[in-house]
Each structure stands twice: as structure tokens, then as C-alpha cells.
Symmetry: C2
Subunit: 109 residues, 2 copies
DNA sequence: CGCATTCATCGTAATATTGCAATTAATATG
DNA sequence: CATATTAATTGCAATATTACGATGAATGCG
């Protein structure tokens, strides 16, 4: 085991979980925040800022790219990463939809 | 390794990541949605609904309780779980704050 | 009390994740 | 062209997660 039984759940549930999971690591939160604060593309500066090895940062960037939160464009020898507006918007909508679903419901305990 | 280097990040980043992670599994998403749809406490019905062993559900419930999203109250031999309004609200605020931080910023690529 | 029901916990197996050093690929620069 | 720089990839080691069966604790019921 150690494997999630994805077949027990709906596609929607699996996707939502995957989105949450992508942000379920402080390094990936930190990367996003760095990208936001710099207001610009950052590349290997993340390695300097975050105190993790280059290979590790690269891996986290890949995961963030996979879920569509960021995109990377090659610029010479370095790569420029920044928020993907579309992916970000979708994320926000999904999150909102999830959390909104509770509002106004009365609890039993 | 396999261990997150939490000391590299701020408390806030670690906490936010932990919150995301708690919802980063389809079973836990499904549990929350079950609790929402039922509008009432559910206990071992989750085991029937979700197709996972009782021990597994119990573990997921524990994690959701740990991050404050749900609370459980013992009722006889069974236990009633439901959304914790306070925890839910805090979650929502944190998520909102995170996603809002991008709005209106111009991207470079 | 004796037994059933419900759920938490423990122990364990299988798999996933995190992190790094080393290597590779691609581009720039002298 | 030779070398340096940047970042992706590969291959590992250590730890975490997921899932389950078995067991235990608590409560309800005959």
C-alpha cells in the first residue's frame, strides 16, 4: 500500500485533492510567494533564497508546473518562472467552490 | 530524507502547507463532502460509503480533526463527526488570503 | 454479567515523497 | 572551439503516507 485508491473517488475529488496536494509543501508555498513578491520572473534565485539544493527546487517547480499554477519560459541559459494566470484563476475557483459549499448550512453538533 | 526541511520556512508557510496537505487526499475530500451533503453527523456510514476499511477512515478523520476542519463527539457507541465552523472559517480565510495575493499583479511572461 | 457494536490504535507491508550529489543538455561567453 | 553557467534529469537514501487486519476500549442491550 502507500497507494491512494483513486478508483474509489470521483474524478473531481481526485483532481481537487491533487491541487491541494501540490500546495501541501512549504517549499512550494514559498516558491509561489517568492514569485508573487518579486513581481517578476525568478529562476535560480529561488535556490539561493530557499536554502534547498538546485535539484530539489527544480523538482518542486516541476510539480507546480504540472498542476498548472506556474509556467516556465527558457531565457538563454536560465529559466523564467511565473504564475500562470489561467491556472491560478481555476485554482481559485475550485477552492472557492469547495469552501462555499458549507456556508449557511447548520451543523448538528 | 523524505523529511521536509521545515526549518527553512516560516511558521506561516509551514502551517499553510499543512492545511493544504490535509485536503490533499481524495478520501479526505470525499469525507468532507459527505459530511456536507448529509447535513448531519455521520459516523461509520462513511466506511460504507467510501469503500475503505474502517481503520483507514478513522485515520483520515483523525487528520481532519488535527487541522481543525472537523470535530467528533461521542454518542453512545458511535461517534458523530461534523464540520467545525471555526476551523472551516479560518481555513477559508487563509486560502482566500493566499489566492488574493496575486490578483492584479502583472506577470512578466 | 455476557455479548455485540462502534471506533481508535497498533503493527506491518507497499508505495510515495523529499532531498541531494552527480550527471547531462543547452546556451552563453571568452 | 573551450569553458562556464543554468537548470533538468537520474539514481539513490531516508522518511512519510496509505491502507489494512488484528486488537483493544467503551458503550449499549438482552
Amino acid at each position: 500500500m502507500g497507494t491512494t485508491k483513486a478508483e474509489n473517488f470521483t474524478d473531481r475529488q481526485n483532481r481537487l485533492a491533487q491541487m491541494m496536494k501540490a500546495l501541501g509543501h512549504p517549499a512550494r508555498i514559498a516558491i509561489i510567494q517568492e514569485l508573487l513578491n518579486a513581481k517578476t520572473c525568478i529562476c535560480n534565485e529561488l535556490v539561493n533564497e530557499l536554502g534547498l539544493a538546485q535539484a530539489t527546487i527544480s523538482q518542486h517547480l516541476k510539480e507546480l508546473k504540472n498542476v498548472g499554477l506556474i509556467k516556465g519560459t527558457v531565457e538563454g541559459t536560465s529559466t523564467c518562472y511565473c504564475i500562470d494566470p489561467k491556472g491560478w484563476k481555476q485554482y481559485r475557483q475550485q477552492m472557492d467552490a469547495f469552501f462555499v459549499s458549507y456556508e449557511g448550512k447548520n451543523n448538528c453538533c
